[in-house]
């Protein structure tokens, strides 16, 4: 009889497949994971605490650095919270620009996920295709607001820049191109037998479990629950657009892939509709007081970020700075289920399951 013993293995914090600085301490028995403990905090910068010393406009660049793969949604949730407290009216054109940028950013974010996820489980070429398309979105953003990732685009009361000449046409061209590209992706990945075998039935959890762990976004919808905050309590002007909420059935990794790819298609639909009804003229920044003093009180707003429910809880004491600011980061909440999913799994599935959750460490550690 061969004597075996448990071994402690340290994955990360510097590991290419953790997409940042996540450390997982795994206790393994041969190839089987007995226990996994994620260790977080390597990228903690104390954004929430820093924000207490900054005025509302100054916080916006800090939010860029939370979920740096979809900075637009972080920008938006903060200004949305402040606007809700101030009861501001947002110009129509600004709302349209916001929706277009939010959805383009969702596409970019899902492309990054798709590319790196397949890279994690061993396919190189989808990564190159995905980044090629994402680059086009980043170029559009670069032209719009002067940066590829840290946009600092939204302002309380509107957006910073109006669309430059010809930008909307470029977005339209991108949409047409991307619709064709989606077919390519399905040709390349969706039917691939190796990919299906690798992901079908792996990392499964039930709907009850997903709800108990407060999962949101594609991680929740993959279990068949149709919950999307854009539909449930529409913010901005999302109630004007027709789109579906894709759901999965099995709650496994393959369904997560399908879910996110379908979300990209829905986002393309939304951008298409927004472009069609884009107001010809108008301001992009509403009437805002020079010094933003939010009235005393508190509020919680949440939006559907590419990763799930992104919330912002704001407590104000009537000053120009928040008294307390708290972000409900979907990556952080979704990561909580990881130890449970990993227990009893094969070591080789660690990266696949972790990648499936789609975390961004800037957001986990905040």
């Amino acid at each position: 009889m061969l004597r075996t013993e448990e071994m402690l293995l340290n994955v990360g914090p510097q590991h290419p497949s953790t997409h940042g600085v996540l450390r997982i301490v795994v206790k393994i028995d041969g190839e089987v994971i007995r226990e996994a403990t994620p260790v977080i905090g390597y990228l903690h910068r104390g954004t929430e605490k820093l924000a207490e010393d900054l005025n509302y406009t100054q916080i916006i660049p800090y939010t860029d650095r939370m979920d740096y793969v979809s900075a637009m949604s972080n920008n938006y949730v903060l200004v949305h919270a402040v606007e809700t407290m101030l009861k501001l009216e947002i110009p129509e054109r600004a709302e349209y620009l916001r929706v277009i940028t939010l959805e383009l950013n969702r596409i970019a974010s899902h492309l990054v996920w798709m590319g790196t996820y397949l890279l994690d489980i061993g396919a190189l070429s989808p990564f190159l295709y995905a980044f090629q398309d994402r680059e086009k979105i980043l170029d559009l953003f670069n032209e719009l607001c002067g940066a590829r990732l840290t946009y600092n685009y939204m302002r309380v009361g509107g957006v910073k820049w109006d669309a430059p000449n010809g930008w909307l046409q470029k977005v339209e061209q991108f949409i047409t191109m991307m619709e064709k590209r989606m077919k390519d992706y399905h040709q390349l990945i969706t039917g691939n037998e190796i990919f299906i075998q690798r992901t079908r039935g792996v990392g499964v959890y039930s709907q009850e479990m997903a709800i108990q762990y407060a999962l949101s976004g594609a991680n929740l919808r993959v279990t068949g629950l149709q919950r999307d905050l854009r539909k449930e309590h529409p913010y901005s002007i999302y109630d004007r657009f027709q789109f579906d909420v894709p759901v999965g059935r099995h709650g496994d990794l393959y369904d997560k892939y399908l879910c996110r790819m379908n979300e990209v298609e829905e986002s393309l639909k939304i951008v298409g509709q927004a472009l069609a009804s884009f107001p010809e003229k108008g301001r992009v920044l509403g009437k805002v007081p020079r010094v933003l003093r939010v009235p005393e009180g508190e509020c919680y707003v949440s939006i559907e970020s590419p990763r799930g429910e992104l919330g912002c809880y704001l407590v104000s004491k009537g000053k120009d700075k928040p008294w307390r600011l708290k972000f409900r980061r979907p990556s952080f909440c979704n990561l909580q289920i990881l130890p449970v999913l990993l227990r009893g799994e094969n070591m080789a599935n660690l990266v696949a399951i972790l990648g499936g959750i789609d975390i961004v460490l800037g957001e986990v550690d905040c």
Binding site: L54, T57, Q58, I59, I60, P61, Y62, S125, Y129, Q132, E135, N142, E143, L144, C145, G146, A147, T150, N152, R155, K160, W161, P164, D184, Q187, L188, I189, T190, G191, N192, E193, I194, I196, L285
Partner: protein
């Protein structure tokens, strides 16, 4: 097996497509006009209002003013102006609040250096950084005449 072959079809199709990569750094990469790069500072326009210092989220700007040598000029003129690019995040807020557009963004983005001290850029350096300056600037349209004539 069919899925694999189908996927390979796409790979083959891509083999004849043109290259998408850039030759940076061998060839400079051009940025769009709105790009937020290293600031250009125009000392003559500055009215020492301190707004850029106050709005900076990372406190990377330091400036001092002095009385003008010319007795006809009211108010202060700029004496020193420094930006610490170790902590500057190029967020564009300083150029947004500047009432006279004395500080504007350029399209330069190469800041890598061997020494940390090189990243402290003083007024002289910043005022010589005058190429590829961004054309459209602030959120609010400029006041008709530059300078603070209101008082």
């Amino acid at each position: 097996m069919f899925g694999l072959v189908k996927g390979l079809g796409l790979t083959l199709k891509n083999m004849v497509k043109p290259r998408v990569t850039y030759k940076y750094p061998h060839e400079p990469l051009e940025m769009p006009n709105r790009f937020r790069g290293i600031q250009y500072f125009i000392p003559e326009l500055c009215i020492v209002c301190n707004q850029c210092v106050r709005i900076c989220p990372t406190d990377c700007i330091t400036l001092t003013g002095k009385k003008s040598d010319d007795p006809n000029v009211k108010g202060k003129v700029i004496d020193t102006y420094e930006i610490n690019f170790e902590i500057c995040i190029l967020c564009d807020l300083c150029t947004e609040v500047c009432p006279t557009e004395a500080v504007v963004m350029t399209n330069h983005y190469e800041l890598a250096t061997y020494s940390r001290d090189d990243l402290y850029k003083d007024m002289e350096w910043l005022s010589q950084n005058n190429t590829l300056v961004r054309k459209e600037n602030t959120l609010h349209p400029l006041p008709k005449k530059t300078g603070a004539k209101k008082a």
